[in-house]
Symmetry: C2
Subunit: 480 residues, 2 copies
């Protein structure tokens, strides 16, 4: 990626976005006028204004860092997004494609012809190509691979062979390697000859003649030590390293925990094959937390906020359909007790309270457990203790809040026994919520699924059907 | 913080945790035996085993990085946690306290006397002290401040004067500064004299005689450029910098966007007063996403999974109480239509379907909007467009899934008109869910609150009460 100099201006990104939006709107007005008003004279004037606007917009965009252009593209609806995309200088296409989110990238790639795609991809490193390749048309990828030299092609192939969530898919190949039997002075001279160092170079990789990793030389040590010293004396000989088939999230946690900036990736024989850098890990940490939020709400994937209605529907249908079934089940549970409701219609009004509080409490429990599992804090050793704590919390909540609502039910309907049934049902449903709030994510994890998957939909299903059954059941036994 | 060398072993952290837990359990068994069996001979044998266990545990802990000990402390219940805490060498107390989560830190500090706390704090830098100070007993802080020199005390005071979410509270003071009118050779010699560079030093800060920031010299450039060159020729003269009163989340986004490792913090006059580093930003990014998840579920703050029942209750009560009120409102809405339900008891069974699907769909919308707002992708310019899209998605879902459930209602109860009312009510409630899913987070943001705050509780309140009202209202008008 080209090293664009980041300059801090006093304008915030939000301000810059607002300016772009304003220019686009002015543009739109001009276009509307052009379409409405006929006549050759008018046309020419409008075209002039039109062009002036575009020039101003283009100047604004050229001043922005690729990451900022990417942000603006993400925040614009499709039509405006493509207008801006057309204006961005062709030589930055590649950088920007790598910065935007997957769903937005798709819309941009769809707007480019093979020639433009090839031009954009030619500037990229092997790891960047591998990131992009799955979304490019097959013939573009093919043509691209032809233009690469042997080593590059091999690297792209290797990166593509790993799963998205493995270290191998996230590593880059920009390692600066040195030997252990040279002096720091030699290393310093070698670096000067390189003219440029890759981004995030906080350490050099020390390898032997077979490319096996012997250690790392932190730049900090290179700078503060006597240049006469040998690399072997100064290097760290047992650094944190990763294997390409390791889980990328584990690597991200290691980066976070040990405050790493870069780390070597080695194969089974200890040969250095790539490196991980903190910027990729930060993206991963962000993505991980995001997918947790999305999964809990029953969204399949991140949605470009200006995705078409059709794409949004597909993203949301799976869990809505499941919810429809669970809601139908809850409805049939109530159906079982229609006789009781006919006799005591107050039950119909009170039953959603039992179900609702259970759902809220269950969602709190499941959120906590999913988070603790994401942080690896839940093990089989402490499950029963966790469960006891959640049940205790629910019991107290049930007795206290259930008691309150029991009194309210008595005041409304003048029946003490109805109030007692209400309190008992709420307590039992809260206990059910706690139990399932712990068991659902743990069972999902044991089945190898994401513990957050539709957590909210599932717990609500249990507390709805369960709540109705407990409350109406108790009422039928004790009140009728 | 001391620079513990991180060594990669083949054991995962989970394995190490399991080993510690096993040693602790063995320990527990031994203790139980000691208590149960009397007699002087037995005691001595058990004590020996006891001590052997502790020695083994201590050895395991000494091998671990402070961050790993912190992880283990977080994953242990209180009693075991304190056993481990007692075994950790006193000289690492400070490092570990800085690594653990706030809630766990509280339990550890409560277990230390003033003397231990003072010893732990003495090793810390000013920014670390400021992190810890709010949780220390007042007299310890006082005594601590006495021991600091003037500059340090000033720094601690200044860091404490900022809000937790401001740049000033997160910056450290470990800047390496140089002048612009010296050669790179001089800089290299100066660094060598320092013996050690602060962590995350990827750039040196160039200041004038008044301490005003003139630019930054990336270490990469220092290494690849001719040592004869002047700093002024090589430095980046307009770097990304921050002010201490800026929002820390904005800074974290800038770090993410521009792939920064460190950045200078300057005051109003451009004077360099501190620096931000990527490790603090990573923690912040993690925390931000976490608080989004927690807030949506109506949890006040992160909960130590082994928090006492009482602490858990306090954490969860606020939103449960609000939910109790909203559930009561929903119940009263049903109460309005008790007459209708008495006449047609099928309404009681069907109404939770309308409310439930609305809640699910509303949660999907609100999750998406909250996420887009966190990424600054929602501006006043695109609100109406977003709203239209969400309403369109809801309309289609309502007609299709509402249609399905309408047919089911007809099959169950043999009434076409009931089916039509069901379809209409579902469509209207989904539209309401979309409307409020967009408006609730936007209104919260406009009021200066966190848009995720209790989002799930609030949207469910609207779709419950709204769903019951719409369905029972339509039924009363058209069916009775």
């Amino acid at each position: 990626m080209s090293q664009v100099e980041v300059k801090k201006t006093q304008e915030s990104l939000q301000d810059r976005l607002a300016q772009v939006v304003e220019l686009l709107q002015r543009q739109r007005v001009v276009e509307d006028l052009t379409h409405r008003q006929e006549g050759p004279h008018h046309d020419r004037v409008e075209n002039l204004v039109h062009r002036q606007n575009l020039v101003e917009l283009q100047r604004k965009l050229d001043d922005l860092h690729s990451a900022d252009v990417a942000y603006i593209l993400e925040a614009l609806p499709l039509e405006e997004r493509l207008t801006v995309w057309q204006l961005v200088k062709a030589d930055r296409d590649g950088d920007i494609l790598l910065e935007v989110s997957d769903s937005v990238r798709e819309t941009l790639i769809a707007d480019m012809d093979d020639h433009e795609l090839l031009a954009a991809a030619k500037e990229m490193d092997a790891d960047e190509l591998a990131d992009l390749a799955p979304e490019l048309p097959r013939d573009v990828v093919h043509e691209l691979m032809e233009t690469l030299d042997g080593q590059q092609r091999e690297r792209v192939r290797s990166a593509l062979s790993y799963d998205e969530e493995q270290v191998g898919a996230l590593m880059d190949f920009e390692m600066v390697t040195i030997r252990e039997d040279v002096s720091l002075e030699v290393v310093l001279r070698y670096l000067r000859r390189l003219k440029e160092l890759p981004g995030h170079t906080d350490k050099l990789f020390v390898v032997d003649y077979d490319g096996v990793l012997k250690g790392v030389l932190p730049i900090k040590r290179l700078l503060v030590n006597d240049p006469e010293k040998q690399v072997a004396e100064v290097m760290a000989s047992d650094p944190v390293s990763f294997h390409p088939d390791e889980d990328a999230y584990d690597a991200a946690q290691a980066f976070e925990r040990y405050d790493l900036i870069s780390a070597p990736v080695v194969d089974k024989n200890g040969k250095l094959i790539g490196r991980l850098t903190i910027d990729e890990m930060v993206d991963l940490i962000r993505e991980e937390s995001e997918s947790e939020v999305l999964n809990m709400a029953g969204l399949r994937e991140e949605e470009d906020i200006f995705a078409s209605v059709w794409k949004s529907l597909r993203n949301r249908w799976a869990w809505l359909a499941i919810n429809l079934i669970t809601a139908f089940v809850a409805s049939r549970v109530i159906g079982l007790f229609e006789g009781s409701i006919e006799k005591l219609v107050a039950l119909a009004a009170l039953m959603p309270i039992v179900a609702g509080i259970g759902g809220n409490s269950g969602n709190q429990t499941i959120t906590m457990i999913v988070r603790a599992m994401a942080l690896d804090q839940v093990s089989t050793g402490n499950t029963s203790r966790l469960m006891r704590k959640e049940l205790a919390v629910s019991l107290i909540n049930g007795v206290i809040w259930g008691g309150v609502i029991g009194v309210v039910a008595y005041l409304l309907y003048g029946s003490w026994s109805l109030g007692v049934v209400m309190t008992a049902a709420m307590t039992l449903n809260l206990l059910l919520a706690a139990l399932m709030g712990v068991l659902i994510p743990m069972t999902l994890a044991r089945m190898g699924r994401d513990p957050a998957m539709g957590a909210s939909v599932m717990i609500t299903a249990v507390t709805d059907s369960g709540g109705f059954f407990i409350f109406l059941g108790l009422a039928t036994i004790f009140l009728l």
